[in-house]
């Protein structure tokens, strides 16, 4: 198993570094598999109105956290951030830069739907300080795109990617989904190979999850399609890893691979228990040992007078919770968790806490332990929930 070895992504926890996640819940049309907090709305006024409220929140949060942290990642997610006018992205970025200390080499990511991007927009993002684009390709097969309810074609994706390069983006991610009902190992192979041939710095490859409440789920319940068998799904997953590794990508998290040095620093924060603030509707934060989240009710969010009023729940993690989250989130990374680091971090020996569970998981071939590193095996990657649930 490959481990990741670049110093930017190393486990070094810069004291006081912070990620900021900016949630933009608007999209052109809801995808059929999507259960994220998003809704169709292409009204610029509404976007601007929302951005004002979000900036108010940012300002409020900066008063609390601004002094203790240096921001080194910003992530514009959604929804479809590329649906809103770049001036809005610029305003929000400005607010972050003016209210927080921001590292010079900060990673600033933005999610792009190929159906909403043009050259001007991409150039404007670049001017706004965005350093990394994440392009929601999902597939290069037009039937699959239709099945997923995507608004774009495979040609839109190729064009968007080319434009991104044209305007100077040197860090681009391609998002892919596999495991669709009619998908065959061949079509998936074509998808992953197409992506690899484009030579993005980062590729995410998600196994399709049909979530309750989505149109896709309804269709499944009504028997309109047969889900892909787990065996085929896993075949595709492992084939993807093989292709990616063969092309020089490091498989660094269950569903993510990157060229050395290009792992998503922002997403790594989630898996490494580093601090991040989520701003915007329904956004989640982990900062100062506390997990908290904003309301996901539009009127409540928009009607809030300050950022505190937006918070619907807040929970101070106990030490035990921190330990458990550290383990089950950390194991998502293929480099695993360094048990010596664990001991330094928590002042406790890992085996004293988790001996029984861990031995059992190792016996079942789901975990492996060598040189003080504990990580998922190949089988463990397929059955990771079985592993994680032992540690919650």
């Amino acid at each position: 198993m490959t481990t990741i070895n670049n110093e930017r992504n190393s486990k070094r926890r810069e004291k006081g570094s912070l990620g900021i996640y900016v949630h933009l819940p608007f999209c052109a049309k809801k995808c059929r598999y999507c259960d994220f907090l998003s809704f169709p709305n292409d009204d610029h006024e509404a976007h601007a109105y929302y951005a004002n409220q979000l900036i108010m929140e940012l300002v409020g949060k900066s008063v609390v956290y601004g002094n203790d942290f240096t921001v080194n990642t910003i992530f514009f997610g959604g929804g479809t951030p590329s649906l809103v006018d770049p001036s809005i992205i610029d305003e929000i970025a400005d607010a972050v830069y003016s209210r927080f200390r921001v590292a010079d080499d900060a990673e600033v990511s933005l999610e792009v739907n190929p159906g909403t991007a043009d050259e001007n927009k991409l150039a404007a993002y670049r001017n706004a300080g965005v350093t990394r684009l994440s392009i929601g390709a999902q597939s290069f097969d037009s039937d699959t795109l239709k099945f997923l309810g995507r608004i774009h074609t495979e040609r839109d994706t190729l064009r968007t990617f080319a434009l991104a390069r044209d305007v100077g983006f040197e860090n681009v991610n391609i998002d892919l989904i596999f495991g669709m009902p009619d998908e065959t190992p061949e079509t998936w192979k074509r998808d992953i190979e197409t992506a690899v041939a484009m030579e993005p710095e980062h590729i995410s490859f998600y196994s399709l999850q049909i979530e309750e409440g989505t149109p896709l789920f309804g269709d499944m319940e009504r028997g309109r399609f047969e889900t892909l068998s787990d065996i085929d799904d896993r075949r595709m997953y492992h084939a993807a890893i093989e292709t990616l590794e063969g092309a020089g990508y490091v498989h660094y998290e269950i569903s993510n691979a990157a060229k050395p040095g290009f792992a998503s620093r922002h997403n790594l924060k989630y898996w490494s228990m580093e601090d991040y603030l989520g701003v915007g509707l329904g956004a989640h934060s982990y900062a100062g040992g506390r997990r908290f989240a904003n309301t996901d009710v539009w009127n409540d969010y928009m009607g809030a007078c300050d950022h505190d009023m937006m918070t619907t729940w807040s929970h101070k993690n106990s030490r035990g919770e921190d330990i458990s989250e550290y383990v089950f989130l950390g194991l998502r990374k293929t480099e695993g968790i360094d048990l010596e680091q664990f001991r330094r971090h928590f002042g406790k020996d890992f085996w004293e806490i988790y001996n029984e569970e861990t031995r059992m998981l190792m016996e079942r071939g789901l975990l492996e332990h060598s040189d003080g590193i504990l990580r998922l095996t190949r089988l463990g990657l397929d059955l990771s929930n079985r592993v994680f649930s032992e540690y919650v």
């Binding site: 999850q209 799904d233 989640h284 998502r332 059955l383 929930n385 994680f388």
Partner: protein
Amino acid sequence: MIFVMKNIRNFSIIAHIDHGKSTLADRILEYTGAVSDREMKEQFLDNMELERERGITIKLQTSRLTYKAKDGVEYVLNLIDTPGHVDFAYEVSRSLAACDGAVLVVDATQGVEAQTLANVYLAMNENLEILPVLNKIDLPSANPDEAKAEIEDILGIDAGGAPLISAKEGIGIETVLEDIVKNIPPPKGDREAKLKALIFDSYYDNYRGVVIYARVFDGRVKLGDAIRLMNSKKSYEVTEVGVFAPNPVRVDELEAGEVGYICAAIKRVADARVGDTITLENDPAREALPGYKKAQPMVFCGVYPAEGEKYEGVKDAIEKLQVNDAAFLFEPETSTALGFGFRCGFLGLLHMEIIVERLEREFDLSVITTSPSVIYRVVMEDDSVRMIQNPGNLPDPAFIARIEEPIVKADVMIPKEYVGAVMELCRDRRGKLLHMEYITEIRVLLHYELPLNEVIYDFFDALKSKTRGYGSLDYEFTRYEPSKIVKLDILLNKEQVDAFSMLVHESKAYRRGRFVCEKLKEIIPRQQFEIPIQASVGAKVIARETVRAYRKDVIAKCYGGDISRKKKLLEKQKEGKKRMRSFGSVEVPQEAFTAVLKYDDNK
């Protein structure tokens, strides 16, 4: 006591389940002022939560009432309650033996049913005066004339003057009381004779030890008397005597004809067995009252602490229950699958269900029960005999000459349109029809012999469903009979799980094995490896199912730092696992043990 014997009436109320026995008892208590309206809980006599839910009486509650009759005399009425299920026939018979008469409640909308008959026979055996009463006459479907005709035709009891009442509405209660006073004979007995008192119930009280319910037939008993229990041959000193009114009230003395309670620092209910005779240690009666029987459990099963439950906790609870229930036996047992637990004996399946439910409700315990079994008589090649109720203890078949199983005589009473369905059911359960009786034009009594092991699973449920609730059943043990009994084993991942083993008739092994395999396949979640589920008799596999392995269990995306949602999912998964039992590498949900007992005929 100030009451003379001729002013005492000792009686029971007998009825089929749901015909209104408890409601009538409540009304009598209210009417005589023993219980005020304020105190009146619905159905005072059924005071256990469980009893009230199931509408049946398990433990007896007895009350002494005073009633000023129309003749101007004040009478003492001792109402002796009886348990209401076939599992407790012996206990019913002892309660009746303490009476001089019985009020027979018949639901005017239903007429005579199997248990009515069974209870009447028990009452007749004790030579009781039986007073029929027709209940529920307020209901539009009541047909008192037909019910009366049935009472006369089937039971041979004159029902001409039977009071028409509605216990629920409080109609006709006084008529019943007058009937009792006039027609039930006063007790006979000699207060100067040697003490003979019948134990008809008992319960354990933390402060007083065992409280015995007794009917004094001859002689007197008072505080400080040295008494002897003639069958168990144990002696005690009386620490308290009293009556239930219906709460316990101390009295100086109980004498011939009276009903009351006696405490004598007795530690276990089993030491004061129902049916035993109390006499004086220093001036004993020559012989005990007739009818004593030892408690004879008929149904056995393993009871084990569920995952996370402590053995000691279950042990304490079982001991506490046993103190109060002479018919409930237990001994420690070990299962390779379930660990340390207990082998428990019960009078019948209902008794078993009640005990298990009490463990769960009153003691807040979670337990696993194994497949119920009857006692088989195993005759070995060397002619020695072993009584086996635990499948795990069945000797090597090579040394067994034959196995005999207990047979019961079962009376099934049904409306005639269900005869076909019920005969089919009984045939399927290996029943032998002895004869069929048309007891009225529309009502049939089927006399069957059935193997007990066919009755204990779910016969009663099946009967109810096949007769839309109209069928009723009464049974008693008759004898052992040679039978082709085999041991059915269940293997998970090639390993035998002893807790699933059962003894079944050869002809049933295949169907039951297949049923258990299918059920387990439904219940056992997919795991990391493929799990073969097999049913076998000896070395021969007779049924097989496979739980496929899961290949994928991933949260592909951890979106926007929302850890809490994923965590909840993982926690749910972990919770599910906690309720599992591990057998080697196979995890089996606890429900599996009870699910394989619920035999579904449609399957």
